[in-house]
């Protein structure tokens, strides 16, 4: 009930990124010459200090197609340097004996509200829904993120989460920009921002906007659709205005007035921001796809997609990811037609299946959620390999966020975001033992000095309560 309630209240979607989709996506027509205003709030993230590290003896699950028993992973200068049965490590490399353990890429959540709905969940910390207008494309989630949310630490130490997308909530048709973060301790959100990750745009279908705006509208699904279309018409006009200004020599005197909301939407139309669309029902996903065709943008991923299995052929054809829970259901009408086989059915149809959380508890066990979905797939006669199921947690979410050239698999050259698990990550008993981000050891179960503690939790319980 707590869980369902949180899904109901917080479920949100949408983010996209500047920076082109890196895989076989239909790309909207981009007008590359138009000046994109310099992005304020630049990332100040830089990797923590790392030393050349060789992990050996573990079952290495690369998410790139290989599972290597008794394998080795070498990290140098924050990057995966080598992966294999045996690799050549530089002299003096720190050697981690992980015999009997498992190694995976860092887990990535495409749908989190950590920092914007922080713990403790008091009103003062409720910063995820700018529920003052059905379209708030002008707001940016990063301006709500509280880096001291204890949820970041829990996601790290229990879930092996190394990157995540923080979205505005689902109260609005268009909720605003999302931001992609590295899960590192930081005083500022800029210090967590994933360098080079495109922004996202959160959109939401169905019951939530209807409920939130019932008294002033939109109060129906048709009202929702009218709202999206109106916004895109304005965005297209805005984009044209800037294109014309660009074509006419960019005279300072003629420069159009900036509009924060339309600026974000125009960037979506230019293909620089990726649309993350909260949408449960199959028929509504089809409606949203039609709208995207009408205005020439692409939906990067549907989030929550409880009925994705019903239109998995359509999702595959359109190149749209499906960010799903393993089993949440029943908390509202549009979440009624659930099957635990959803992820496996979507996967089998050739669409990108992604396990997401939308929850500060769920983000701590995306690996377990994947396991439940794998079992349901088997029971439906769909055998999903461990490598493919791991991709639901790493490579596919990386793709949905437009960062799959940087993270999501253990391959040479990628950022060394790595988790050492105590057991097979699809086991309920598995716990992260070590988490590396850009090659730096950020969490070590065996070392209390590497158990991050947020400012909020510092001194929170009396010393007598410690065991």
């Amino acid at each position: 009930m707590k869980r369902a309630l949180s899904a109901l209240l917080l479920a949100a979607a949408g983010c996209a990124h500047a920076g082109g989709p890196s895989s076989q996506q239909p790309k909207p027509a981009a007008s590359a010459t138009v000046p994109v205003p310099p992005v304020p709030f630049p990332s100040t993230y830089h990797p923590f200090r790392s030393v050349p590290t060789l992990i050996r003896g573990a079952t290495v699950m690369t998410a790139a197609g290989q599972v290597i028993p008794n394998g080795q992973v070498l990290m140098v200068d924050g990057k995966v340097a080598a992966v294999g049965q045996t690799v050549n490590a530089p002299a003096g490399a720190t050697v981690i004996d992980a015999t009997g353990k498992y190694v995976t890429p860092g887990i990535i959540d495409v749908h989190s509200h950590l920092g914007v709905y922080a713990s403790p969940g008091v009103d003062a910390n409720s910063d995820g829904n700018e529920a003052t207008n059905p379209v708030t494309a002008n707001v940016w989630a990063e301006h709500s993120v509280w880096p001291q949310d204890p949820g970041f630490v829990r996601a790290l130490e229990n879930g092996g989460i190394t990157s995540m997308e923080i979205l505005p909530g689902s109260a609005n048709l268009i909720g605003g920009r999302s931001v992609v973060l590295k899960n590192v301790p930081s005083r500022t959100v800029q210090g967590m921002k994933f360098p080079g990750a495109p922004y996202g745009l959160k959109m939401a279908c169905g019951e939530n906007p209807k409920r939130v705006y019932a008294s002033r509208g939109p109060s129906t699904r048709m009202g929702n659709v009218a709202g999206y279309r109106t916004a895109w018409i304005e965005a297209a006009a805005y984009r044209r205005k800037w294109d014309d200004w660009d074509a006419n020599g960019r005279k300072a005197s003629d420069m159009p007035t900036r509009d924060l909301g339309l600026e974000t939407l125009a960037e979506v139309l230019r293909g620089h921001i990726l649309v993350q669309n909260h949408c449960y029902r199959a028929d509504e996903m089809a409606q949203m796809i039609d709208i995207s065709h009408e205005f020439g943008y692409h939906i990067r991923s549907f989030h929550h997609g409880v009925e994705a299995y019903k239109v998995r052929d359509l999702l595959a054809r359109e190149g749209i990811g499906a960010s799903l829970w393993a089993d949440w259901w029943g908390f509202k009408m549009e979440a009624l037609d659930e099957t635990n086989a959803n992820l496996a059915m979507v996967h089998q149809a050739g669409a990108r299946a992604i396990v997401h959380s939308d929850d500060p508890g769920g983000i701590q066990r995306l690996n377990q959620e994947a396991a439940k979905a794998v079992l349901a797939g088997r029971q439906a006669g769909i055998d999903v390999s461990e490598n493919d199921a791991l991709r639901w947690l790493t490579a596919n979410p990386a793709w949905a966020l437009g960062i799959d050239d940087k993270v999501g698999t253990l391959e040479p050259g990628k950022q060394a975001d790595v988790v050492v698990w105590s057991a097979n990550p699809f086991s309920v008993y598995a716990r992260p033992e070590k988490v590396y981000i850009d090659g730096a050891l950020i969490y070590d179960r065996a070392n209390p000095n590497l158990h991050p503690v947020s400012d909020f939790e510092t001194g929170l319980l009396p010393a007598e309560a410690a065991r």
Partner: protein, 437 residues
């Protein structure tokens, strides 16, 4: 006979039919009896819905239906101690929610008994039981005193056939979220609770004067005061939803003051007062997967809560804390193991312990002769997420592993013109009883 009468007659037949006039032998599995050590290569013999023998050397009578459990694990059906199964169909659709009585202004609904609102045809029931959960506490919530719960087995076409025990426990909340409904402060909540309990006691001593209208106004209605008598007499536990360590201590003080039995629900910080709970012999119903300082009353919540409580000697039941996903109670138990509880204790926390806490251990919770045959055969470790459920028996009768969810899955398993046209009922997987001998 009118259609209506016919239906009534059919209903009566269903209600009174023997659970299953047959003998079933589950043979060859590792039997986790919960009554003692696991029995490798054991047999569970079931007759007429009850367990008649369990052991390594049980003779299988001729003509018994045999379930081959070699290489598999056999357990009692799992038991979730805090759900609203049968009382909530769709969370956000108020018309389908029957677990709370919005009773202003006193917020005391002790007489509210969820039994009469229970829907045996809830779509949540098949979804839950095919995951190996055969028994649930379905309970009220809301207000200072919410009402009374039931223990039900997840089977049957009517409430009587699923009901194991009615009026199992009384529910109260001293949790932060309920403050507004009861006085607006912690002390206000406890003040009102004490007042109601005290008036219930006073009422019982002055029933005649009260009924003649010659007694002062009391803090609750006559029905509610009556409903609290079993609590005051120690025959019915009071489940108190409470999280902060200091609030748990207050609860223990009230229990002592009134001489009543309490069970702690919620219990986020129960580990901090584990020794006191053990000394007072107070059980705790915990959700394992909560470790965030989500509220100021749960700043200390942690994954090893159950393990610490168990070590201190507290009887623990594990719940998924959900209705639609009560099926995940095994995942909660598995995570308790990953955080220090023994595998055996984790299994007990979702079988025998709840049966004992709710007073139904004479019929449920372990695989022992005489108990109801709620038995699950698992393809491996029951707490592992990749382990399939192979067989579910409730009252000795095998439940088809079909739910609305598996039917929707199968309807869409192959996308083709038939999907577009919606297959008829005949094309659906038929929920057939396993052939019985």
């Amino acid at each position: 006979m009118s259609k209506r009468l016919l239906a009534a007659a059919a209903g009566a037949l269903l209600a009174t039919a023997p659970a299953a006039a047959q003998t079933v032998a589950i043979v060859g599995g590792t039997v986790e009896t919960m009554a003692g050590p696991a029995i490798p290569n054991g047999t569970v013999l079931i007759r007429d819905g009850r367990i008649v023998a369990v052991g390594a050397n049980v003779a299988v009578p001729a003509g018994a239906r045999t379930i081959d459990a070699r290489g598999k694990t056999v357990t009692p059906g799992f038991f979730d101690s805090s759900t609203q199964i049968g009382l909530e169909e769709v969370g956000a659709v108020d018309e389908t929610n029957d677990h709370r009585l919005n009773k202003d202004p006193d917020h005391v609904a002790a007489a509210f008994d969820v039994r009469d609102g229970l829907n045996p045809n809830s779509i949540v029931i098949p979804v839950t039981r095919i995951a190996g959960v055969t028994t649930a506490v379905s309970r009220p919530d809301g207000g200072l005193i919410s009402g009374q719960s039931v223990v039900v087995d997840l089977t049957g076409m009517n409430v009587d056939s699923m009901l194991i025990r009615g009026a199992v426990a009384m529910y109260a909340s001293l949790a932060e979220g309920s403050r507004g409904e009861a006085g607006g402060s912690r002390s206000g909540q406890t003040m009102l609770l004490r007042q109601v309990l005290d008036d219930a006691r006073t009422y019982a001593r002055n029933r005649e004067a009260y009924n003649r209208g010659q007694f002062r106004q009391l803090a609750a209605s006559r029905l509610d005061l009556e409903a609290l008598q079993p609590v005051l007499a120690g025959r019915m536990p009071l489940v108190v939803e409470v999280n902060r360590a200091s609030d748990i201590r207050t609860t223990l003080a009230i229990a002592k003051e009134f001489g009543i039995r309490v069970v702690i629900g919620g219990g986020a910080e129960a580990w901090m007062v584990a020794d006191e709970l053990a000394r007072a012999n107070v059980p705790v119903v915990v959700k394992v997967l909560q470790d965030l300082p989500e509220t100021f009353e749960s700043l200390g919540e942690r994954y090893d809560n159950a393990a610490i409580l168990r070590r201190a000697g507290v009887k623990v039941a594990i719940t998924a804390g959900d209705t639609h996903n009560a099926r995940n109670v095994k995942q909660e138990a598995g995570n308790a193991v990953a955080n220090g509880l023994s595998h055996d204790d984790a299994l007990r926390a979702i079988t025998l312990n709840p049966a004992q806490i709710w007073g139904v251990a004479d019929r449920l919770g372990s695989l022992e002769p005489g108990k109801l045959a709620n038995v699950v055969v698992w393809g491996g470790d029951p707490l592992e997420l990749l382990t399939p459920v192979e067989h579910v028996l409730i009252h000795g009768r095998e439940v088809p592993l079909v739910s609305r969810e598996t039917m929707l899955r199968d309807r869409y398993l192959h996308l083709n013109d038939e999907t577009r046209a919606y297959p008829s009922a005949a094309a659906r997987p038929t929920p057939v009883q396993t052939p019985q001998q």
